[in-house]
């Protein structure tokens, strides 16, 4: 009866090796990201790129080993919902950064052709 109670639960197929592997990979990825920033081994932009990639890999590791997303047919709707959420996140975060930084560029006080006196800002 134990299986009946837990078969549809998240983590139904989980075993110790999932958690061990997730822990080990997360420790390595986290330490790598912190070490890169703390030592300053790479130039700033390269560091940002590498730690974003490390974070993406670590999110994937957590999804597979801790949240047990395995792409099985049973989880199809969970994955669709996650993809939709990801689309909204992309629009929200990407759109906000795009619009605000564009506005920031256009409102620089020393733009040529700017005729309004600065005290109106």
């Amino acid at each position: 009866m134990a299986d009946r109670k837990t078969e549809h639960l998240p983590g139904a197929g989980a075993s110790l090796h999932h958690y061990a592997r997730g822990m080990l990979l997360s420790v390595i990825l986290t330490l790598a990201a912190f070490a890169l920033v703390m030592t300053g081994a790479l130039p700033r932009n390269a560091t940002i790129f590498v730690i974003l990639v490390l974070a993406a890999i670590q999110i994937f590791v957590h999804l597979v080993d801790f949240l047990h997303i395995d792409g099985s047919l049973e989880q199809r709707w969970n994955v669709y919902a996650a993809l939709f959420a990801l689309l909204v996140v992309g629009i929200l975060v990407g759109g906000s950064i795009w619009i605000m930084f564009s506005a920031h560029e256009r409102m620089k006080p020393d733009m040529p052709g700017m005729t309004m006196p600065p005290e109106t800002f």
Partner: protein, 211 residues
């Protein structure tokens, strides 16, 4: 936040061995897990708005302190390790529940609670330290966004701790019924999900913040 605590399942508590009840339980579990997953996805959107705000104002210091001056990466690394450890100890709750080992579920739930409480204590210490240094949420747009984002994550973790207390009470009162199994599964999703959010927090806020 909606935690499904009062679903119609009284029948299954008393007759979990009945085949029809077991089928109902399986269907209810499937639906409940999917519903909770949808809630988590809406939480993703909540955090995305806070991340977007932070990304926009993260260099708006208003003449106040910068992330490089404020953040102590060693301390953040320790916080990250504590939260990761709590995710793994919750994994042991899940494994123990699968094997119907009630005492082990108790033990690992208590361990996870303590480790999670250590994380909250560290975060409160950090917030207190910042406010004492004059770097409270009202100092600059950067600090407002920082406290809103990291504070919202902390509130979620705190809610998870309350949920753990509720589960320990239910476990003691009802034992490992289908309903308790289901709630343990949802709490596991919630807890691991918060660790995923923290990956983005330490990368975007702390690591990029000191660069």
């Amino acid at each position: 936040m909606t935690i499904p605590l009062d679903l119609p399942e009284a029948h299954s508590v008393h007759a979990p061995q009945h085949p029809a009840a077991a089928v109902d339980d399986a269907e209810l579990t499937e639906k409940t897990v999917f519903g909770f997953w949808l809630y988590l996805m809406s939480d993703v959107v909540l955090f995305a708005t806070l991340f977007a705000v932070y990304a926009v104002v993260c260099r708006s210091y208003a003449g106040g302190p910068t992330g490089r001056e404020l953040f102590d990466l060693g301390f953040v690394l320790a916080e990250t390790g504590v939260l990761l450890l709590s995710s793994v100890t919750f994994g042991f709750v899940t494994l123990a529940a699968q094997e119907n080992r009630k005492q082990a579920v108790f033990l690992w739930m208590a361990v996870t609670f303590v480790v999670g409480a250590v994380f909250i204590a560290m975060e409160l210490y950090e917030f207190n330290h910042l406010i004492e240094e004059g770097a409270g949420p009202s100092r600059s747009a950067f600090l407002s966004a920082y406290f809103a984002l990291v504070g919202t994550h902390g509130l979620h973790v705190f809610t998870g701790l309350l949920w753990m207390i509720a589960m320990i009470v239910q476990l003691a009162r009802d034992g490992l019924t289908a309903a308790v199994h289901r709630r343990l599964g949802l709490l596991g999703l919630f807890w691991h999900f918060l660790d995923v959010i923290w990956i983005v927090v330490f990368t975007e806020v702390y690591l990029i913040g000191v660069l």
